[in-house]
């Protein structure tokens, strides 16, 4: 295990963000908090994809005569897609939450709302 590997902190962050998000989704009762947790989880997934695409010593895949080694461009393209999808789901979720709040006057879900 080499601490000087760039990908190591990134993988640790990914694992931490995913677990933190999962913990929030499972243990919190406030719906807004649940969606914040989901948003954190999405960030973690995006970081995972980028980390997988990283090549030690590579540079961004934008051509430049001074560089010979480039990182993998495909995961970056995928993450661009994933980020926008995450935002869309968040926006729609918030619209649903606002409607729910106007109907119920609360964002906590009670025992009646079983899974």
């Amino acid at each position: 295990m080499n601490l000087a590997t760039l990908t190591l902190p990134c993988y640790i962050t990914v694992a931490a963000l995913l677990s933190i998000g999962l913990y929030g989704v499972i243990s919190k009762r406030n719906l807004m908090k649940i969606f914040i947790s989901l948003s954190i989880m999405e960030t973690g997934v995006n970081l995972l994809l980028i980390t997988i695409g990283y090549i030690p010593g590579g540079t961004a895949p934008i051509e430049n005569a001074n560089f010979a080694k480039y990182v993998d461009p495909l995961p970056q393209a995928l993450v661009l897609t994933a980020i926008v999808i995450g935002l869309s789901v968040t926006a729609l979720a918030i619209a649903v939450l606002i409607s729910y709040y106007q109907k119920n006057g609360t964002l906590e879900y009670k025992e009646g709302m079983k899974w």
């Binding site: 590997t5 990908t7 190591l8 993988y11 640790i12 990914v14 694992a15 931490a16 995913l18 677990s19 933190i20 999962l22 913990y23 929030g24 499972i26 243990s27 919190k28 009762r29 995972l48 997988i52 695409g53 990283y54 090549i55 030690p56 961004a60 895949p61 934008i62 051509e63 480039y70 993998d72 461009p73 495909l74 970056q76 393209a77 995928l78 661009l80 897609t81 980020i83 926008v84 999808i85 935002l87 869309s88 789901v89 926006a91 729609l92 918030i94 619209a95 649903v96 606002i98 409607s99 106007q102």
Partner: protein, 242 residues
């Protein structure tokens, strides 16, 4: 109870994911010999990996300097069409859901500095947004960040002025027209070339603004579309009362 269950599951998941990721660290190159790919249609085998293909051939095949943009718009343009559609679906859904809710009453005015400051920043935000999405094939960025910078500019105005609203009809027309342009460019590819979204105009000289065929056109369409969609989402959220 629920909290401890959450902690337990999270810790288990953490251990699981770390144990998987640790095994990923050694894989740090895509140019290894066993990463050649196979064409599923005719079974032909290439002696390079897919990332290598993108790095090497992007400039010749698409004319774009930025390989990520080339992948987003050309190689995997269909994904991008889907992604734009997801955003469009979300915008439609937001307006569908928030349509009949309570409208808000008058909010407090912002102070002079915020108001004048947003006015002053707006043109710069729009210019930067345009810069970002028009240079998608040359520099980092592209339609999505560009569109969201533009939307942030309008968001600023929406925040600073309680009465400011972008014209609903114009936004929706912009959304529709730019989205249709994307699909129509794709269909023109089917018509003039052989496949959906295929490039059918000359590639030009790599590195210049007017190059890379349909990539800038599609990115401009995406930029307008994303900008107007995000603005309309935010505007809808603003209209709703508490």
């Amino acid at each position: 109870m629920r909290k401890y269950a959450g902690i337990a599951i999270a810790l288990l998941f953490f251990a699981f994911s770390i144990s998987i990721f640790i095994q990923l660290i050694p894989y740090d190159s895509y140019e290894g010999s066993d990463y050649h790919y196979k064409n599923p249609i005719n079974g032909g085998v290439a002696n390079e990996s897919i990332p290598t293909h993108y790095i090497k051939e992007t400039k010749n095949e698409t004319g774009a300097v930025n390989a990520v943009t080339a992948i987003v718009v050309e190689y995997r343009g269909f994904d991008t069409l889907g992604e734009v559609t997801v955003l469009f679906t979300a915008a439609t859904g937001v307006s569908f859901l928030l349509y009949q809710l309570r409208k808000k009453t008058q909010g407090r005015e912002a102070n002079l500095i915020t108001k004048e400051g947003s006015k002053l920043v707006l043109p710069f935000a729009l210019l930067t947004g345009a810069y970002i999405f028009i240079h998608g094939h040359l520099t980092p960025g592209g339609g999505f960040p560009g569109g969201s910078v533009i939307a942030s500019g309008f968001l600023l105005m929406l925040l600073a002025y309680p009465k400011f609203f972008v014209n609903e009809k114009k936004l929706s027309y912009m959304e529709s027209i730019s989205g249709s342009i994307f699909v129509i460019i794709g269909l023109l590819g089917l018509l003039f070339a052989t496949a959906f979204l295929q490039n059918f105009i000359p590639v030009g000289k790599p590195g210049h603004l007017f190059s890379a065929g349909i990539i800038p056109l599609i990115y401009i369409a995406i930029g307008f579309k994303v900008g107007s969609e995000l603005s309309s989402i935010v505007q809808r959220l603003k209209e709703v009362g508490e």
